[in-house]
Symmetry: C2
Subunit: 146 residues, 2 copies
DNA sequence: CTCCTTAATGGGATTGATTCGCATTTGCAT
DNA sequence: ATGCAAATGCGAATCAATCCCATTAAGGAG
């Protein structure tokens, strides 16, 4: 099944219209290895010759987050939201505080921990986010050389 | 050692002036069981009869985050930043997506996982955030009753 | 205790991301 | 092909956060 067809099904299942803009947005997000901002998305689409407005980008992102197709991830950096498509395995991130590089990580060993908390607090956990901050290999090396 | 004295020392150690506003802000944050927004802080201080401006609140929060005395935590809810004083043990949170209640959790079983990632990616992790989302005991019960 | 330097503050203006309102267009069921 | 509700565009509005600059106050030196 082609990628576009897969998106159609996803949208249909959620009672969302299969518009070309939503298709394009999902394609760009699928292709991106890192979380993207609304503006990056907008500019990328423009570069590809697609005419779209910022409102549409934001609205599409909102509805896709709401339907659990993409995730909004905040890194506390310059008050901007980043968005990432949900893949089979969810992701965590290593964020370099110096060069801002974001490394996705797919391992997630937290089920046990989560279960214990659910029991203790009577809380049903439906999702979680883990972000780790520090210095990437390159920035570590750069500061060694000084 | 009194609380105020402790704050004085923290500020002095960081070469920050021990101003009454910073004292007040730290007191309010210490007393708060949950992360607070800049606005909440501002209003709380006003209620206590302390005259302060939003600029000062934001500036104090910035410098305290920078010096690692408090932490900025974003919960993706209405694009607002929340701040929390750092205690002996760092904290994670259970965030109820319905009533927005935030339950702090002090257990943190991630050192092993973190070490493995550091090795694999040559990344030095200096901090991390884990937030879990779902439904609290009360909101679970409310939806049962329907 | 007083003086002096400079960090900190107030308050208003500004920025910048995100949201809103409403007229127009488009998807899609029939 | 037709009709209607959903989606879009574009400009205006909102709202948290930041900036500017004149004023105040912390705290070290004497």
């Amino acid at each position: 099944m082609g990628v576009k067809n897969r998106y159609s099904k996803m949208l249909k299942r959620e009672n969302l219209r299969n518009t070309s803009h939503r298709q394009s947005i999902l394609e760009v997000m699928e292709a991106s290895k890192e979380p993207v901002s609304a503006e990056t998305l907008y500019l990328t689409l423009r570069d590809k010759g697609i005419s779209i407005s910022m409102s549409t980008v934001y609205r599409a992102l909102d509805v896709l987050v709401e339907r659990n197709i993409i995730a909004k991830t905040d890194f506390t950096d310059n008050n901007r939201s980043l968005f990432e498509i949900k893949r089979e395995e969810h992701r965590h991130h290593l964020v370099c505080v110096k060069c801002k590089k974001i490394i996705p990580v797919t391992e997630c060993p937290f089920h046990e921990y989560a279960s214990a908390l659910e029991e203790r607090f009577g809380f049903s956990i439906t999702s979680h986010k883990l972000e780790m901050f520090g210095y990437c290999r390159k920035c570590n090396k750069d500061s060694d050389e000084k």
